[in-house]
């Protein structure tokens, strides 16, 4: 009894931290602006990089400035009540305070640019945002999840031309899939690191 209760509690905790809920997965957040990725990505076909401009250049993909929003919405839907907040912030030169969905711990230093330049598509980590009304985190974003890919990156690589595509799929046949992975590994000189200091500084 003295052993089982703590053992169960400990075991329970260990199971719990591996549950999606503990990892903040599948939890859509209400944002200050009811921005719908389904509409912008799927219906309008706007490339991710139109708004997330620095994804290829820096550690952060970048949150679009209100100027980016208004570059279209000064012309279309300029009266829409959904955009009241955006207009108000834009004309008052105030920032929109978005809720952070994909939030890595502070001791993790992740860099978007190296991943997209090496052929890791947006979908691989962020899922089908073109099907999300409100953005939610689909990947666990745990260290073991990161390491799974760093140890075997091939299956998650795609040609960089398809990097922002939400619908690209690797070839169906196993042989072709392996061949593509090998080609891309070679072509992009992919050899991910698993040393601690890669992500922790």
């Amino acid at each position: 009894m003295l052993v089982t209760i703590p053992a169960l509690a400990l075991g329970g905790l260990m199971v719990w931290v591996r549950m999606p809920d503990a990892n903040n997965q599948f939890h859509p957040y209400e944002q200050p602006v009811q921005f719908d990725h389904r509409h912008h990505v799927a219906d309008e076909g706007i490339d991710c990089r139109y708004c997330h401009t620095t994804v290829e250049d820096g550690p952060s993909a970048g949150i679009p400035s209100t100027t980016v929003c208004m570059s279209c919405h000064a012309q279309i839907w300029q009266k829409s009540p959904y955009l009241t907040e955006v207009r108000e912030k834009f004309f008052n030169d105030l920032p929109i305070r978005w809720v952070r969905v994909h939030n890595l711990p502070d001791h993790v230093y992740f860099d978007h640019s190296i991943h997209v330049n090496k052929g890791v598509g947006c979908v691989s980590c962020h899922g089908r945002v073109d099907q999300m009304g409100a953005i939610e985190q689909v990947a666990p974003l745990t260290m073991s999840w990161c390491l799974d890919c760093h140890r075997n990156p091939g299956p998650n690589l795609r040609p960089v031309e398809e990097i922002t595509s939400t619908t690209w799929t690797p070839p169906a046949e196993a042989e072709a899939r392996t061949a593509l992975a090998e080609t891309l590994m070679e072509q992009y000189d992919v050899h991910p690191r698993v040393s601690c200091e890669t992500c922790h500084r």
Binding site: Y29, D189, E197
Partner: protein, 1055 residues
């Protein structure tokens, strides 16, 4: 092993002699001195000389032996006060029980916000650092910098790599001045008679008042300016003169370099600035010139001088005459310690010995005469490759003599060049203050505008500047901090930091250098100097940007201005704007006149003032990073002391930590004594800048309202740097000065494996050039041999693979003066906290990079060697074997990495580290910071919490940044995925003006670091342990004159 022990000419660090060699404790320093000499002989075997960190160690006093019994200093392991970890865990357990574990709580914060820009600034990518050229002013000279900013937030200052003076390097002060920007103690409100008022209140009252001064052309309007050569400010001053033709301008700094210009005037008939070219100089003779540490050109001096300290090239030789052991003196091949007043006599003797006409030889002691004659012969042999220079503390006549000797040698135009002086308009020394004081006494001053740094604190005490200010009805003062002058002035306007406003100035060579702001003023109440100047012009408000731009538009014309302007601002300076070289001759002819102007040498105990190596003349008093940087020679932090030689201490019957009364011209000052080896006898040195009133809580010394004592209270107009006539009275009080390096000892009895080779443990190594040239291999062989030794530590499997590079570092002891620029750079880059005096006392300083200083030789004529040491990244790292939680592990690139979030704080690793480079967060040093202080944090480096071990990472964030850039280019088909040599520059390497630190890939034999590792001078520290450190040090080579070192050619070094 073929080398016989007696063939070794290496100077190695001695082990501590056994306890029974310690002298019996007797009263009286002279007894200790005698026994000390005996002990020194005891420990110096045939294998080199003994090294020691403090006099207590040298003398093996019982206190020293007591303090070194344990590895860590007393108090290092005391439990911290406040909420401790165990309490915290208990509380955590209780709160979890209360909350119920089953509730749906996520492991991540759910409501963290991302704040978008409304309009993204040009070329800004979040997380990608941007670099802007700017400049900082020191005593009127611009030092060109490159500032690194993240999202508009400056976090690091480097030297401007393209600027002719900076060439990418900085000094300690410039590194730390970023912290002034974010200091929570910055003044932020305009004050009227010490009450907060709105800035508008000031302008509303002051501007009409100025109108009333117009009547007599501003005859009662005076300006006391910080020295500057800013073209735009001069333009404004010119216009102020147009409105107030009778206004008078004065200029002053407490660390004036006027004597250089005046000395050249005496020698050549007109005021000139000397510029020394140490890349050309074979023999350098310095008369009290701390030219590697002080002055606006020191960064360039360091670079040129140290490049000539490589035995593979033409080696130079430095003779240093000085009273106080200086960082320049550390690198000297021969150092003569004399009182500052006697430096003039040495100059005269040297002039006579070199053969300057009209200079008769003064009488010197036989020993000194021999020294001077040998140096003179050396200088004559060097001819135009010889140079003699004098320091700013010496009177102009000594400078004139130095120029006369250089001219006699033919060095003018080669080793020294002259230009028009940069600070040409006004006197900057005490004479200018005297003129102002006379005007105030005569009631001729109604309004005084002060931009000079804190004259109430820094002005010579006999001026009574604070009393004088009370006689001026309207005083306006502007400064970064609310200091003594701010409290004495009628109006005080807080100033902008250099990174908050536009401006321009000239570098020491005349290059026009621009100050570009990186950030809007943090406080709305602060004003830049040009904005305040503009008040005197009765014109509409213009920003500092507009003022600067308008000035240069007027100066250079509108045609093509925008293109010019953009290039200037981008580069940070105007190319080819340095003053041209001026023909200078006639110094030898003026030598006789210079001799006649030499001050008479007075006997008696001499009082020396020195600008602090840590906090300057006091302007960095509020900068904790500088307060905690150890004084280069004494290693004292958070204090100044009365430095005295061992012999004089014995005569005065005082010892370190005794409080004495310094009595000079009827004024008395209490100061703790510190005995500094190799200090001049019959002289006491005190550092200026300390003891300012109104010090903030955390800056205070125990039982005091301030830090240190104000040496300026003894400083007089006619003796700003030194004077005889000091009297020292002993008191019964003591005061504990806190030093670094007394803890963290690497020395221990010589390991068994080393005993056949040496009786001493090699740590900081030196050899003479002569022995090196004849026997380099033999000298180094014992060190290399030790790598073969069996080690308990298992060898690591070789790490190879595509894209894997092996990092390593080389630190050249022969180039290092111990200036601390690297230490501060490391602290700023890596978010290393300042811990305060009390924590340093317990050996809890956090600096990853420390600067060890070892003395060697006789107590009275000791030499010093400094050694920068951080984690050496052992290939077989002892720390890694003992960590129970794998928090310190090896990366495939040879980094010994520290995983903070695994660390549970057992401190086993620190215990097992032979180099003592691991630092433990005993307390929450990084919490409790103000929002502005938090802004100074480098976002690329984790801020560590309490209970975490940390240490040098080889700037892993810089490696990663370079790696990502290289690999992105490689993925796009450009170049290899290996980081090219030179792409990773560590913070310490970047700051080092003498380029003593080199970092790179040691697996590639073509990199700079590999070549240095392959150099015969390189050695592995504590090699006998078999740890295979990746950082290797390079043996320091000295180049003594054989005429002065008779035993040098054959035997071991010196005893």
């Amino acid at each position: 092993m073929s080398t016989k022990p007696d063939a070794m000419k290496l100077n190695v660090l001695a082990s501590q002699p056994s306890v029974d060699a310690a002298p019996e404790q007797k009263d009286g320093m002279d007894v200790l001195l005698e026994t000390g000499r005996a002990a020194a002989v005891e420990s110096e075997g045939a294998h080199g000389k003994s090294y020691w960190r403090s006099i207590e160690e040298k003398l093996q006093t019982p206190e020293f032996l007591e303090s070194t019994r344990g590895e860590f200093p007393v108090g290092a392991d005391l439990p911290p006060s406040g909420v401790v970890r165990r309490d915290f865990l208990q509380l955590l357990g209780a709160s979890m029980a209360l909350a119920g574990i089953g509730t749906a709580c996520s492991t991540r914060p759910s409501d963290e916000r991302m704040v978008s820009y409304t309009k993204v600034p040009d070329s800004l990518a979040p997380g990608v650092p941007q670099h802007y050229a700017s400049a900082l002013d020191t005593d009127g000279f611009a030092s060109a910098i490159l500032v690194q900013a993240y999202e508009g937030r400056p976090v690091k200052i480097e030297g401007n790599p393209e600027h002719p003076i900076a060439n990418g390097a900085t000094n300690t002060f410039d590194q730390a001045r970023l912290m002034d920007l974010y200091s929570p103690h910055r003044a932020r409100s305009t004050r009227h008679k010490n009450k907060d008022v709105a800035y508008n209140t000031f302008t509303e009252q002051f501007v009409p008042h100025l109108k009333s001064l117009e009547a007599d052309g501003g005859a009662k309007l005076h300006f006391l300016l910080a020295p500057h050569a800013s073209p735009s400010l001069m333009g404004l001053e010119e216009r102020i003169r147009q409105r107030f033709p009778n206004a008078r301008f004065h200029s002053w700094t407490s660390a004036s370099r006027e004597s250089l210009t005046r000395g050249a005037e005496l020698a050549f008939g007109r005021p000139l600035d000397p510029h020394y070219d140490f890349s050309q100089a074979d023999v350098v003779f310095s008369l009290d010139a701390d030219f590697l540490q002080r002055g606006p050109e020191a960064v360039r001096h360091m670079r040129d001088f140290s490049a000539r300290r490589d035995p593979n090239g033409t080696f130079n030789r430095l003779y240093q005459v000085e009273s106080t052991f200086s960082p320049t003196g550390v690198l000297a091949d021969h150092r003569l310690r004399v009182r500052s007043a006697d430096v003039a006599t040495i100059a005269q003797a040297l002039a006579a010995a070199v053969g300057v006409t009209g200079v008769s030889a003064p009488s010197l002691s036989a020993e000194q005469q021999k020294w001077v004659d040998a140096a003179a012969a050396d200088l004559r042999a060097a001819g135009l490759k010889g140079v003699v220079l004098a320091g700013e503390r010496q009177p102009p006549a000594v400078h004139a003599l130095a120029h006369a000797i250089t001219e006699q040698l033919g060095g003018i135009g080669t080793t020294v060049r002259f230009t028009e002086p940069v600070l040409s308009r006004f006197a900057t020394g005490p004479s200018s203050l005297q003129t102002l004081a006379q005007a105030i006494q005569a009631g001729e001053v109604d309004t005084l505008f002060i931009s000079a740094h804190d004259p109430v604190y820094g002005a010579p005490v006999d001026l009574g500047f604070e009393e004088l200010l009370k006689k001026v009805p309207n005083t306006v003062y502007t400064s970064l901090f609310e200091d003594a002058t701010a409290r004495a002035a009628t109006w005080f306007v807080p100033a902008t930091h250099a990174l908050e406003a536009w401006g321009d100035n000239r570098s020491v060579d005349g290059t026009i250098t621009f100050t570009q702001p990186l950030i809007n003023p943090l406080y709305t109440g602060v004003r830049s100097l040009p904005e305040l100047y503009a008040l005197f012009l009765a014109e509409p408000y213009r920003s500092s940007y507009q003022i600067l731009r308008d000035h240069w538009l007027g100066e250079t014309g509108a045609a093509g201005f925008q293109a010019r302007w953009e290039i200037w601002v981008q580069k940070g300076f105007q190319e080819n704007s340095a003053y041209p070289e001026v023909e200078a001759s006639g110094a030898t002819g003026a030598a006789a006149r210079a001799v006649s102007q030499l001050p008479t040498v007075k006997e008696g105990l001499e009082l020396n003032f020195r600008v602090s190596d840590q906090i300057g003349d006091g302007r960095y008093f509020n900068n904790p990073y500088l307060q905690e940087s150890p004084e280069p020679l004494t290693k004292i932090v958070w204090d100044n002391a009365a430095l005295v030689s061992p012999r004089t201490a014995a005569r005065l019957n005082v010892k370190t930590n005794d409080v004495v009364e310094l009595v000079y011209r009827g004024k008395t000052l209490e100061a703790p004594v510190f005995i500094l080896p190799s200090h001049a006898d019959e002289a006491i040195t005190v550092a200026l800048g300390y003891g300012q009133t109104g010090a903030f809580n955390y800056l205070r010394s125990p039982g005091s309202e301030t830090v240190g004592f104000n040496a300026g209270l003894l400083r007089h107009q006619d003796a700003v740097w030194f004077d005889s006539g000091l009297e020292v009275r002993t008191t019964r009080k003591t005061y504990e000065l806190v030093q670094t390096q007394t803890a963290w000892s690497m020395e221990e009895p010589v390991p068994e494996a080393l005993k056949p080779l040496s009786r001493v443990r090699p740590i900081a190594l030196e050899a003479t050039l002569a022995s090196w040239k004849s026997d380099a291999k033999k000298i180094n062989e014992p060190l290399r041999h030790l790598t073969e030794r069996e080690s308990l530590l298992k060898p690591l499997p070789p790490k190879t693979g595509p894209g894997v590079q092996q990092w390593g570092m080389a630190i050249d002891l022969g180039r290092c003066t111990g200036c601390n620029a690297c230490v501060i750079a490391c602290q700023v880059e890596n978010n290393i906290p300042v811990v305060g005096r009390d924590q340093v006392k317990r050996g809890r300083e956090m600096t990853w990079l420390r600067m060890d200083r070892y003395f060697s030789g006789e107590l009275e004529d000791a030499r010093a060697v400094v050694q920068a040491i951080a984690c050496v990244h052992c290939e077989r790292a002892p720390c890694e074997y003992v960590c129970p939680v794998n928090a310190t592990v090896h990366s495939e690139e040879g980094l010994n990495v520290m995983v903070y979030n695994r660390c549970v704080g057992t401190r086993y690793c620190s215990n097992n580290c032979p180099y003592k480079v691991r630092r433990f967060n005993y307390l929450h040093y990084s919490t409790g910071k103000t929002p502005t202080e938090r802004m100074s944090m480098n976002p690329d480096v984790t801020v560590r919490a309490r209970g975490i071990m940390e240490k040098c990472t080889y700037c892993v964030q810089r490696i990663q940044r370079a790696r990502i850039a290289t690999r992105k280019a490689a993925a796009g088909g450009e170049g290899s995925s290996l980081i090219p040599d030179g792409a990773v520059v560590t913070a310490c390497q970047q700051a080092c003006p003498s380029q003593a630190i080199v970092f790179g890939d040691v697996a590639d034999p073509e990199t700079r670091v590999s070549k240095l590792h392959a150099d015969a001078r390189s050695y592995r520290l504590l090699n006998d342990l078999g740890t295979l450190p990746r950082t290797r040090h390079l043996v320091r080579i000295n180049n003594p004159n054989p005429a002065l070192e008779p035993e040098a050619p054959s035997g071991s070094d010196h005893h």
